[in-house]
């Protein structure tokens, strides 16, 4: 039985904990700056509230990192040094250089690294990928991915909105779809991006538009919105190939429309979430697959290199938005300069 330590107890740490509870793994404890959050979760799962990372590392087999993005690099390197396996919430790191160092360190130390790009585990996205892989629509040519919600809220110190920490919308939100586009159409060669907060720093909303050129010749259009009214969360995908077209829209396929009368203003969660009920949460499906990879050495559907490649695209998007020019990506198999 694997002993799991969860770092970060915000929305993602809480969600991962629920996932681990559905596996034979044991949640040993939590580590977080907001002590209240950590001790509430510790109580709920009958687990510890660790004072620091070293205490956690000496006690667990696996560290599940759900802390703010800019902290991933340092925490992962310390976990690797302790020889513990790692689950890491997306983005794998804040910069390509950091992500590369992480992947390299894990490889050299023979430590498992599983990056939680949960979109690959959403049934609609997984099904579309499987149909493309089965050749149902031929060769993908133009891919459109759209993910829209409102600006993430946080009780205090909103790191999501601090571009230095989160990478902003072009990284934090849209990395989901860079990864998915790569899963569908392969490695990316060029990135061109714009976003509202770069052009209009005082705007009350943010919205990103990114054009990816894949080495396969396919092109992808990625849109990310933090401009919708809470509690909106909607996604759209369209994969057009030379032998057909797949599309999905979360609004059009929502099995339930809630038109009941609300008393007062509807409460919205900190981070907008998809809400199409399924028997098992995609987050739980993900954690179960990661658990199998840890215990039985089964291959997960996402590799450390995938996590690195997604960060590289996100970083290029931020750079392109600054320069109004495309960014050409260095192939990562040859290592980084």
């Amino acid at each position: 039985m694997k002993k799991i330590g969860i770092v970060g107890t915000g929305f993602m740490g809480t969600t991962h904990a629920a996932g681990w509870a559905a596996t034979p793994a044991q949640i040993s404890g939590f580590l977080a700056k907001p002590q209240q959050e950590a001790s509430t979760l510790a109580k709920q799962y009958n687990a510890k509230n660790y004072p620091d990372l070293d205490a956690m590392l000496s006690d667990v087999d696996v560290v599940d990192i759900c802390s703010p993005t800019h902290l991933h690099h340092e925490m992962i390197l310390r976990t690797v040094a302790a020889g513990k396996d790692i689950i890491c919430e997306k983005p794998l790191a804040r910069t390509t250089k950091q992500a590369y160092e992480i992947v390299k360190a894990c490889r050299e130390a023979d430590v498992k690294l599983l990056v939680a790009h949960v979109v690959r585990f959403f049934p609609e996205y997984a099904l579309a990928q499987a149909e493309v892989a089965n050749g149902k629509i031929g060769k993908p040519a133009v891919i459109r991915l759209h993910r829209g919600s409102y600006r993430p809220k946080k009780p205090a110190g909103n790191w999501f909105l601090d571009e230095e920490k989160s990478g902003g919308i072009l990284m934090d939100l849209m990395i989901h779809d860079y990864d998915y586009a790569r899963w569908i159409a392969g490695d990316v060669e060029t990135v061109f991006a714009k976003n509202v907060s770069r052009q209009h720093p005082d705007a009350p909303v943010d919205y990103g538009l990114v054009i990816l050129g894949h080495r396969s010749g396919a092109i992808s259009h990625i849109a990310g919105s933090w401009a919708y009214p809470p509690p909106t969360f909607r996604t759209h995908l369209e994969i057009a190939g030379d032998r057909g077209l797949i599309e999905f829209d979360s609004e059009d396929t929502a099995p339930i429309q809630n038109l009941t009368l609300k008393s007062g203003g509807a409460d919205a969660p900190d981070v907008g979430l998809p809400a199409s009920p399924v028997s098992e949460s995609p987050y739980t499906i993900q954690i179960k697959e990661f658990y199998a990879a840890l215990v039985d050495g089964k291959t997960a559907r996402i590799t450390p290199e995938d996590g690195l490649a997604a960060v590289q695209i996100a970083e290029a998007a931020i750079q392109s938005a600054q320069t109004n020019q495309p960014v050409y990506l260095t192939p990562l198999d040859g290592g980084l300069k």
């Binding site: 040519a141 061109f192 052009q199 919205y207 849109a223 919105s225 030379d242």
Partner: protein, 332 residues
């Protein structure tokens, strides 16, 4: 008021016949076509008078003509009509080359004839509603557009739509101008830079032009916009394609689907889903504006300059494909 149609190279020519016939005080003078077989056949089919040449039609003194030739053949007809003082509604894009587009505008200017570009989206009821609210300040500042103008392979209507010479390109030439014009109209700003990526994966064996295309534009007021111009709708899609955008503003997002007003039909006849449009006829409203502008002796709501500016942005997209950079639009 007599209006003539020059050429059926563009299939819209047929739609304009019924538009003109349903308009008070307007007479469809007739049609001419340099493809005699096509011209005679369609004239007969629509019970319209057929003129054996463009010259013959123009000699019959129409008040205006609608030019529906291939994209690269607009200029000579515009020159011919303008020289006889005849007003012009020209299919889009008004030309495939900057010099031709400029020449059409200048020729009409000098001749003092009215030149209107066939941008029917200016007359779309959903777009007019948004424009009204935009001008009313309901949305505050506009930040960006995420636009699509996707379609099926247009060779289903006419082969020349995918001919590099006659059409001037593929999906980019076909589908960039509508959204560019809508955004120029909404923003009252000009396109400053264009970045484009294209490919040739859909219908690779059937046509020799780009069929997939994504573009990113910036305007001189700081607004940016993406356009998906792809011919990405399969031939069994429930309709020809569509035009959509998300407009991101200070007050949130407006999601617009210009051709959403459909009924869904599932029939034994076609054995696939079919969307039948019941929204207002944009072509009718556009042709009516042409007629009204002639009648009232005033500039039309969409001009030759609008056609020229849209061509400039489109050609910048091709320039970006060549240079692999974001390029500045060459304003003439």
């Amino acid at each position: 008021m007599k209006i003539g149609i020059l050429s059926f190279a563009h299939h819209h020519g047929e739609a304009y016949i019924s538009n003109l016939r349903n308009m008070d005080g307007v007479e469809l003078l007739g049609v001419a076509d340099d493809d005699t077989t096509r011209g005679e056949r369609l004239a007969h089919q629509h019970e319209a008078r057929y003129f054996p040449s463009y010259e013959a039609l123009l000699e019959a003194k129409p008040d205006g003509v609608i030019i529906c030739t291939e994209n690269n053949k607009h200029l000579p007809l515009a020159e011919m009509a303008a020289s006889q003082g005849i007003n012009i509604l020209c299919e889009k894009p008004i030309a495939t080359k900057l010099a031709d587009a400029k020449s059409i505008v200048d020729t009409c200017d000098k001749a003092g004839v009215l030149l209107m570009t066939a941008f029917p989206m200016r007359f779309s009821a959903p777009l007019l509603e948004i424009k009204k609210r935009l001008d009313n300040g309901d949305f505050g500042d506009v930040y960006c557009f995420n636009g699509t103008n996707q379609g099926e392979l247009p060779t289903v209507y006419r082969d020349w739509f995918a001919d590099p010479e006659l059409a001037g390109g593929g999906a980019i030439m076909d589908h960039t101008v509508h959204l560019v014009d809508i955004m120029r109209w909404f923003l009252e700003a000009e396109v400053e830079t264009v970045y484009a990526r294209s490919n040739h994966i859909f219908h690779a064996d059937e046509v020799d032009v780009e069929t997939g295309a994504l573009e990113m534009l910036t305007f001189d007021n700081g607004v940016f916009a993406s356009i998906d111009a792809s011919w990405s709708r399969p031939p069994y899609w429930p309709t020809w394609g569509g035009l959509t955008f998300e407009m991101v503003t200070q007050r949130g997002v407006v999601v617009m689907d210009a051709f959403r007003q459909n009924i869904n039909i599932y029939s034994h006849d076609v054995k696939r889903a079919n969307w039948a449009y019941w929204g207002s006829d944009i072509n009718h409203a556009m042709v009516k504006e042409f007629v009204d502008a002639i009648r009232e002796n005033r500039p039309p709501k969409v001009t030759g300059i609008d056609g020229l500016r849209a061509v400039e942005a489109t050609l910048a997209a091709y320039e970006s494909l060549r240079s692999k950079k974001s390029v500045r639009v060459k304003a003439s």
